[in-house]
């Protein structure tokens, strides 16, 4: 593994990546479990390690507003948030994406209130899924560091120019100390040279940003924006490949484990993919094959890649760390169902809710899911309702 081995928690690893990316502007409001990210960056700026403008704002709404302005002015911009903080940014999320303002934002994934809970759910990431931001999910601290660096490359690519979220599970990754390999500053400089903005804000050549756009042009602008996302997958792959050459660490939008010869699989996001893989190894010792499919790239949703992987299974459990109230399925389940709908061979899908608000998700839960998949396979029928694992029943 290339790089220098250090020990950091997820938040510090993200802050270190942002520092090595030589961000020009950090605009942020602290919120648990992301706080350490902006605290660390504030330290870097304060002690002279990082030459950046640190804007301490009074709310996340302002944090993102300032980030949009700085990005349009041509700066390399970073911010971070969690849960309610992201909710407070919501209207500006749309504006950042619509104005094609590259910004990298880390989300320490956390449950939305009520009741107040600072631990991990994916409510916040899912809430941003339609806003036009690109989204990556880190599985461990190493990935949180790597994906933050790669996010700048993708976001600022001329063919993309879109704000990008790096998700890392609250506390599970944000506060967990892990060993990780970091690049030398010079290597990062070569991978991520100074941003070259296209047509930035210029007082000598004024432009109008975000004008009134009624029935005459609004739809055309949305179509133009829609078009960009078709190209993002290709750029992401290029960046993943280049990063692999630099570090030896292989990234792909859809990560697979143990899928060869398995007829059952689970699809999962974030840190729990490691738990699922551990459980799949245990199950394999008992002769039970369970494929594990995890998504590094969540938006744009890697439809073609996922379809190719999942078509070969009989039954697939889609795990959601969130609930979409009153909807026909939870968020990732709806994405996967839609992606598979036009496939020639479709597995039976089972939606599983797990780990809400930081509830433990253990290999035993994965074994329970495997048993449920066996039963669905035997009956040949999809269950109507989602299965909740780790819930106190009775």
């Amino acid at each position: 593994m290339k790089g220098k081995l250090v020990g950091m928690n997820g938040d510090r690893a993200v802050a270190y990546a942002a520092k090595q990316a030589k961000v020009d502007v950090i605009s942020a409001y602290p919120i648990t479990p992301q706080t350490i990210i902006v605290e660390t960056l504030a330290e870097y700026v304060n002690n002279g390690e990082l030459d950046a403008a640190f804007i301490p704002v009074e709310s996340e709404h302002t944090a993102l507003s300032a980030a949009v302005g700085a990005s349009l002015a041509g700066a390399r911009v970073f911010t971070a948030t969690s849960s309610q903080g992201l909710a407070l940014m919501y209207e500006i999320l749309w504006i950042a994406a619509g104005l094609r303002a590259p910004i990298v934002m880390a989300i320490g994934n956390r449950a939305l209130s009520p009741n107040i809970n600072i631990h991990c759910s994916h409510d916040d990431a899912y809430a941003a899924r339609d806003t036009g931001w690109l989204q990556f999910f880190a599985e461990n601290v190493q990935e949180a560091y790597d994906l933050t660096l790669m996010a700048f490359r993708v976001a600022e690519d001329e063919r993309v120019l879109l704000p990008t979220i790096v998700n890392l599970d609250g506390f599970i990754l944000t506060h967990a100390l892990e060993g990780l390999y970091v690049l030398e500053d010079a290597e990062v400089d070569a991978f991520l040279p100074k941003r070259k903005p296209i047509n930035p804000i210029d007082p000598k050549n004024p432009k109008t940003y975000g004008p009134l756009d009624f029935t005459d042009w609004y739809m055309e602008h949305k179509r133009l924006q829609f078009e960009v996302y078709q190209k993002v997958g290709g750029v992401v792959r290029e960046v993943f490949d280049e990063y692999e050459k630099l570090t030896g660490r292989h990234y792909q939008p859809v990560k697979t484990f143990n899928v060869e010869g398995a007829d059952k699989a689970i699809v999962i996001l974030g840190s729990s993919a490691g738990t699922a893989r551990f459980a799949a190894r245990k199950l394999a010792e008992k002769g039970m094959k369970l494929g594990v499919v995890s998504l590094t790239q969540y938006r744009p949703f890697p439809v073609a890649e996922l379809r190719k992987v999942l078509e070969s299974f009989d039954v697939v459990a889609v795990l959601d760390r969130s609930v979409s109230f009153g909807s026909p399925g939870n968020q990732l389940f709806m994405d996967v169902s839609t992606a598979l709908y036009s496939s020639k061979k479709r597995p039976i899908l089972v939606n599983v809710v797990y780990g809400l608000g930081g509830r433990d998700f253990t290999p035993l839960h994965v074994e329970r899911i495997y048993a449920a998949l066996e039963e669905v396979q035997r009956k040949g029928e999809a269950p109507e309702e989602s299965l909740w694992v780790g819930l106190r029943e009775g």
Binding site: K207, G210, P211, W217, E220, E227
Partner: protein, 98 residues
């Protein structure tokens, strides 16, 4: 082609990214007629020059001639259809744009 009409883009493919207007101008050049989905067409043969449309047009986008004949200023007509609605002889028809 006037300076203003050079802003009129035909298709989404021709638009600058991010919805940015690269050359901002004053509101005089903001030809609000592009908001229109339906366009009023006056049948001059039926028109009795009562000027009801001219009186009721909220913009005003009905142009009044010296002889009280009327025409539509399509640069500013938003297609609300009030003129067609108040015309006592049904001389104005609202037809879909483009």
């Amino acid at each position: 082609m006037s300076e203003a009409s050079s802003f009129v883009l035909k298709s989404w493919r021709e638009m600058p990214p991010g919805g940015i207007i690269p050359v901002p101008k004053t509101s005089l050049l903001n030809k609000t007629g592009t908001w229109r989905a339906l366009k009023p067409v006056i049948n001059q043969a039926k028109c009795i020059r009562c000027l009801m449309c001219w009186v009721h047009c909220p913009e005003p986008a009905i142009l009044r001639g010296e002889d009280d004949s009327v025409a539509v200023d399509y640069d500013y007509c938003k297609g609300c259809g009030i003129c067609a609605n108040v015309c006592p002889v049904h001389a104005i028809e609202m037809v879909p744009e483009g």
